[in-house]
């Protein structure tokens, strides 16, 4: 599922950087870094990516488990710490 998820999110969210990996359960986990998250609260970020995945993958969107959503600025701040 990692490749289709990446393709869909990158197509719908230009410039989004994704680090995803499959777990032993078959589900995917990772994070998405995108300037488009700037100004959105964490609830809205989740809604945005989950809605996109549901619209394209249907029930298979449930195979995406924990997906963290950061802006590039937030990622930079975390990496500096």
């Amino acid at each position: 599922m990692v490749d289709p998820v990446k393709e869909i999110l990158k197509a719908e969210s230009p410039g989004m950087e994704l680090e995803l990996e499959s777990m032993s359960s078959g589900k995917d986990t990772g994070d998405a870094v995108w300037t488009g998250f700037d100004g959105l609260d964490h609830l809205d970020r989740q809604k945005l990516v989950r809605d996109v995945l549901r619209s394209k993958l249907g029930v298979e969107a449930q195979e995406v488990s924990i997906l963290l959503t950061f802006t590039p600025t937030e990622l930079h701040s975390m990496q500096e710490a």
């Binding site: 589900k27 990772g30 964490h42 989950r50 924990i66 937030e74 701040s77 975390m78």
Partner: protein, 147 residues
Amino acid sequence: MYYLASTEHTYRDAAREHLGRAENEFERGDYFLAHYLSGLAVESHLRAHLLRNAPEWAPRHDIRALAKKSGYAQIASAELSSRLSENITVIATRWRSNHRYYSEREFLDFMTELRAEFNKRGDCRKNQARTLFNAAFEIVERGEKQW
């Protein structure tokens, strides 16, 4: 020299204890400490999952990396994935292990830069601490139920 190695069980216990202390400090009005202990509870809980699932991986105080490598995501049901993702992102962006070295002023500057809770009414520091505690509580509670 006496050295006690942490285990998945000691990390689990520590997470629960830190969360309890965070709640106490919130009630006392020490929002800075409540914030710090909430994040520490999540780090401890994720380390417990890490030791159980991937003990070969050496962690840093990095919530983003711990969330990905610890195997915690295995416990997230379809219904909870979005909520837990939201909560872990909140902790990862707003908490740093080195906050323990921060003065109150530095901490406020850090949160101001993040614009955390800027749109909410009331005491900003209290709102920030409550948000972090609630996120930590859900992460640890769900992890405990699925352990």
